[in-house]
């Protein structure tokens, strides 16, 4: 088991090294422009948020600092998912060209092989300062009352990455059947954008959907609420169960989709 874990780590390191060479060494100016674009995208909504919440003492019973943390956690989850599961954007090409056949024959899990093949170092470059800034901001404004809240938030953030993984795998499963992957992934990105601010801004039916059916609320709002001590323990357990259930359903859907794979050409 230890050998298998070590093997996957080694493979990921090789993939990451190749991605790094491609993005930084072959296309340095493009990489620079992408990083600038990502920073502008982050900064523009951040400024918009500061201007908005500058007008109110509280935002739906959350303090201004808490609203900022909701946005920072959204970015953490979004950027981490983009950085480490970037390979999904190349999946359609693998299906239509038949290269995916080779992925199925290799002694590496095809999901791992596809998703982690292209680690985006431009996102990694923005993720590191984002993590540091988020932690410093939370500590500076004393937003986590006790260590146990921070621990609960970390558990839920782990669940967030599981849910993000599930969404990516579901888009791959749809891609195997329909060859349309990008649209599903962009839909996922738009859905997560709905949780840039706490999902409490939506009506009750929408909140239910964003919690139990398309759990972006569980991905982003719940970890932040857990951090502030605003999430009841039962909801922490429910979040973990939702992540676990989604993983089981996703893997089952993936297996069913593979049964339909017909290898267009190879």
């Amino acid at each position: 088991m230890q050998f298998i874990r070590y093997k996957y780590l080694k493979i990921w390191a090789k993939f990451a090294h190749a991605s790094f060479q491609e993005s930084i060494l072959l296309n340095p100016f493009s990489s620079f422009l992408f990083i600038v674009g990502k920073l502008i995208r982050f900064g523009s909504f951040f400024i918009f948020l500061l201007v908005l919440i500058g007008k109110t003492a509280t935002f739906l019973s959350f303090t201004r600092e808490q609203v900022v943390v909701f946005y920072l956690i959204y970015n953490l989850v979004d950027v981490a998912a983009q950085a480490f599961f970037r390979g999904v954007y190349w999946f359609r090409g693998m299906i239509v060209s038949g290269i995916f056949d080779h992925f199925l024959l290799k002694p590496i899990h095809p999901l791992f092989n596809v998703l982690t093949r292209y680690t985006d170092f431009m996102d990694v470059a923005t993720l590191i300062p984002l993590v540091i800034y988020t932690v410093v901001y939370i500590i500076d404004h004393r937003l986590a009352p006790h260590g146990q809240e921070a621990f609960a938030a970390l558990i839920l953030l782990g669940g967030s990455m599981v849910i993000a993984f599930c969404f990516h795998v579901l888009s791959m499963a749809v891609g195997v059947i329909t060859t349309e992957v990008d649209s599903i992934i962009w839909m996922f990105r738009n859905l997560t954008q709905m949780a840039r601010l706490p999902i409490d801004i939506y009506t009750a039916p929408v909140r239910l959907i964003l919690t139990f059916i398309l759990p972006v609320g569980v991905m982003i709002t719940f970890p932040a609420k857990a951090l502030f001590g605003l999430l009841a323990p039962v909801w922490i357990v429910v979040s973990v169960l939702i992540s676990g259930a989604m993983l089981l359903i996703t893997l089952s859907v993936w297996r069913k989709a593979l049964e339909k794979y017909t290898s267009a050409s190879s």
């Binding site: 296309n27 100016f29 493009s30 990489s31 422009l33 992408f34 600038v36 674009g37 990502k38 502008i40 995208r41 523009s44 909504f45 400024i47 918009f48 201007v51 908005l52 007008k55 109110t56 509280t58 935002f59 739906l60 749809v174 329909t178 349309e180 990008d182 649209s183 599903i184 962009w186 839909m187 738009n190 859905l191 954008q193 709905m194 840039r196 601010l197 801004i201 939506y202």
Partner: protein, 266 residues
């Protein structure tokens, strides 16, 4: 003329080839409108006020609707394909035909815009049925005519900016990074995310100098009756000036690019 109508017709048909892709794209547009509406609604609820940043709630909701409409009319574009055609050598197919390349892409854009407007009608209708938001209806016919003119100029302006960006393909095959940066900046500076006049006056005065301000925000302000006739006339003159400058640039860059074009990939 009939050959350009054929281009329009073929582009229209092409849009329906990948139906799931198309449906997802429309659903994403709806989600964007949906989440932005609820963000602003939450801000009004938090301040317990009918007016914020000098916008009454009806005018702000109308602003959001107009952003969605102008997004469909102004930002829908197929000119993104130009750089790819240059890099792949497929541009040779166009230049050897009795077709103006610029008119070809303009017809493609027109088909894309019409498709966007039709489906936006359904989405906005559905949005109305769900939420019945209060809107501001402009009753001054003169303002509506000026609004229409400003939108028409914005369409031409955005087309020229996009076309110019596509011409970068003559010098580099890494146009996507520049396009990503441009789209991120344009989205913010056009006022798609929030009304630009909520920013500090010093920042807003810098944004006014750039062409993006005249794409969405300026026509919006005409319809909402927030600028005087003098400002409308000045704005239309500035839009026209930008069009003249960009048209001249497009002509120069196209000529230089065609001297360099070597139909690589063919």
């Amino acid at each position: 003329m009939s050959k350009y109508l054929q281009v329009f017709h073929i582009t229209w048909q092409n849009s329906f080839v990948y139906r799931l892709n198309f449906l997802m794209w429309r659903a994403r547009s709806f989600l964007l409108l949906f989440s932005t509406y609820f963000i602003w609604l939450a801000v009004f609820r938090s301040t317990n006020s009918h007016t914020i940043f000098n916008y009454e709630i009806e005018k702000l909701v109308t602003y959001l609707m107009l952003v969605a409409l102008l997004g469909a009319v102004v930002f829908a574009s197929r000119t993104i394909d130009l750089s790819w055609m240059i890099n792949s050598g497929d541009l040779s197919n166009l230049v050897t035909k009795p077709l103006s390349v610029i008119r070809y892409f303009f017809c493609q854009d027109a088909a894309d815009k019409l498709l966007n407007i039709i489906f936006l009608g359904f989405e906005v209708g559905f949005f109305f049925l769900l939420f019945r938001p209060q809107l501001f209806w402009q009753s001054d016919m003169a303002r509506i005519i000026w609004f229409g003119l400003a939108v028409a100029l914005a369409v031409v302006l955005y087309f020229l900016i996009n076309f110019l960006l596509g011409l970068l393909g003559f010098w580099t095959n890494q146009v996507w990074a520049a396009r990503f940066l441009y789209m991120t900046i344009a989205d913010v500076l056009a006022g798609s995310l929030f009304p630009l006049d909520i920013l500090p006056p010093s920042v807003y005065s810098i944004i006014r100098i750039l062409p993006f301000h005249w794409l969405v925000f300026f026509p919006n302000q005409i319809y909402l009756g927030r600028i005087s006739m003098n400002e409308i006339c000045t704005g239309l003159v500035i839009q026209t000036a930008w069009i003249v400058i960009l048209a001249w640039l497009v002509k120069k860059v196209w000529h230089r690019g065609m001297l360099k074009y070597s139909a690589e990939g063919r």
